[in-house]
Amino acid sequence: MANMSNMSERAGGSLTAWALREGFYAGAVSLGLFVLFVGLETTQNIRNELVLNRRLGLLGIFVIVAAVGRFLTVAYLRPWAAARKAAAAAKPAEGEEGFSKRNFSKIAIVFLLLYPLIAISIFGVQGSLKWVDNLGIQILIYVMLAWGLNIVVGLAGLLDLGYVAFYAVGAYSYALLSQHFGLSFWVLLPLAGILAAFWGMILGFPVLRLKGDYLAIVTLAFGEIIRLVLINWTEVTKGTFGVSGIPKVSVFGIWSFDVSAANNFAKAFGLPMSSAYYKIFLFYLILALALLTAYVTIRLRRMPIGRTWEAMREDEIACRSLGINTVTTKLTAFSIGAMFGGFAGSFFAVRQGFVSPESFVFLESAIILAIVVLGGMGSLVGIAVAAVVMIGGTELLREMQFLKRVFGPDFTPELYRMLIFGLAMVVVMVWKPRGFVGSREPTAFLRERKVVSGSFTKEGHG
């Protein structure tokens, strides 16, 4: 990459030639890479024989995209980026950040509060379903999960690859307890959180002495164990069939969303029957839960325990020699993180109306962790952005019907979700190696020194 700066100084003619050569190489490499994976397809014919189909057109598209893409990158994108960088360096750094940047989270919250209304006004009550449910709720669930995991990974620095286990504990707690004991969501939500936190402790104990990769492996195994228990303990969990018919959540017991119920929400307000109201209610519910997670995280970070987590991530031995009990510190991180996983889990159960072990595979843990890492460990805003990009991006892929026209009618964009996911991760990590928001915000803001000291003295005497 050392010649990158020289590159822009090269004469235009030789740059184009160079770009053409680079493009040609990229095409050749992708031809080699994809000739077997994309160029050939095996299917079975009616007589169950294996037939080999040649998909030269599709292969051609792949190669051309690679070649043209490389050409454009080298010839135009890179010089442009270099020029922009130089321009940015020449401009003196601005002291004040823009209004939108400073108030980003406030604007985002207001937007989220209005989001269902915006969706309804644009797409109508039924049309908004897709936007509120598939996109909004889906993203918010991951935002919440990632924020929960962030407490464990981002703040306390404990690499947990089995976070989905707590999500599962929360989901099954709600599913089973509501069916067997008929308890309502509002009773079971805290209970699911407590149960998940309890399991967080159970996991915490044996792994206390482990660090880094070893911790990651054990937590991964723990996640798998929980899933296997869910599959095999058929008397209770109904195994792979899962638990279905999970009751809906009511508006604090006042209005119900069951069609037959007397206090049905739509009936009570004389609205036409639609499942959209329920989805919109769920949207606000998960929004509230996610904001609760964020609020608690922000509060915890300013409290001694949060500061201790961050210190422990940096140097455990130093923490101990300052009189900090790292055992309880780790356990609280595990259990508080797990608690939010449990909340998210019971929300998931109530939203789907159905839970099965399939929803709690390792891939889910990996996605949640990827969001935390991409967001820049520890940064709430960064993580939310990462969730929107990752989950929203893959959901939007379903909508991209025009891709079918490019790649043929049997092209299912969803199947390429993970490819895009991986690509996005590589791009982000190259472009911003420490995540979207890579720098850590200090918890004590010295400009507001008076306020901060005031709250400290209060903490001390209390």
């Binding site: 923490c319 009189g323 004590a444 000291s453």
Partner: protein, 241 residues
Amino acid sequence: MSDTLLSVQSVETYYGNIRALAGVNIDVKKGEIVSLIGANGAGKSTLMMTICGSPQARAGTVTFDGEDITRLPTHLIARRRIAQSPEGRRIFPRMTVYENLQMGASLDNLKYFNEDVEKIYTLFPRLKERQAQRGGTLSGGEQQMLSIGRALMARPKLLLLDEPSLGLAPLIVTQIFDAIKALNQEQGLTVFLVEQNAFAALKRSNRAYVMVNGQVTMSGSGKELLANPEVRAAYLEGGRH
């Protein structure tokens, strides 16, 4: 003034099968400044860490204020008010200077924080200038000041300093030693320190120990050791500050 605060008796510490301390005896009395000198690899840092219980002594006892702390976990030893500025400084690099000092005051839950932080800032005005800066971006000497400052924030009865002069300009070394001396005289703080800068340490110490290969080979008052020809030959010649 003469009662013993810290007493290390026939302590042996191992790293795996390697014996780093081979029966060490050291006493530190209340209100004293005691220094420990010795060649690289003699086991000085190991002794400091053993007092803090990480690693724990395999044989022998460590007594602090009349209590056997040999088998206590590190954080409980720290709660007996033994604070250490360890080898390698071990500050929290991603946290600010201010937050590092807050961490130092964890024991009292920041009860005396505002009062104490001002004292640290008077001691090291440099830290005040840098209070919003991340620990990891401080210069080596500033990190050393922060490490000592953080240890002092815990209101220790016994302060353990592992090479406090490491990486510091001679002027700052004098300043730090004077500060330690002042704390010792004004507040009766007991200090046990390891030093390569033997001259500066011995000059200001009440007593000192010399360690060779995991054993204490010599001890005496600071003045005696300063005058001792062996000590002079091994630790002082050519290194006078």
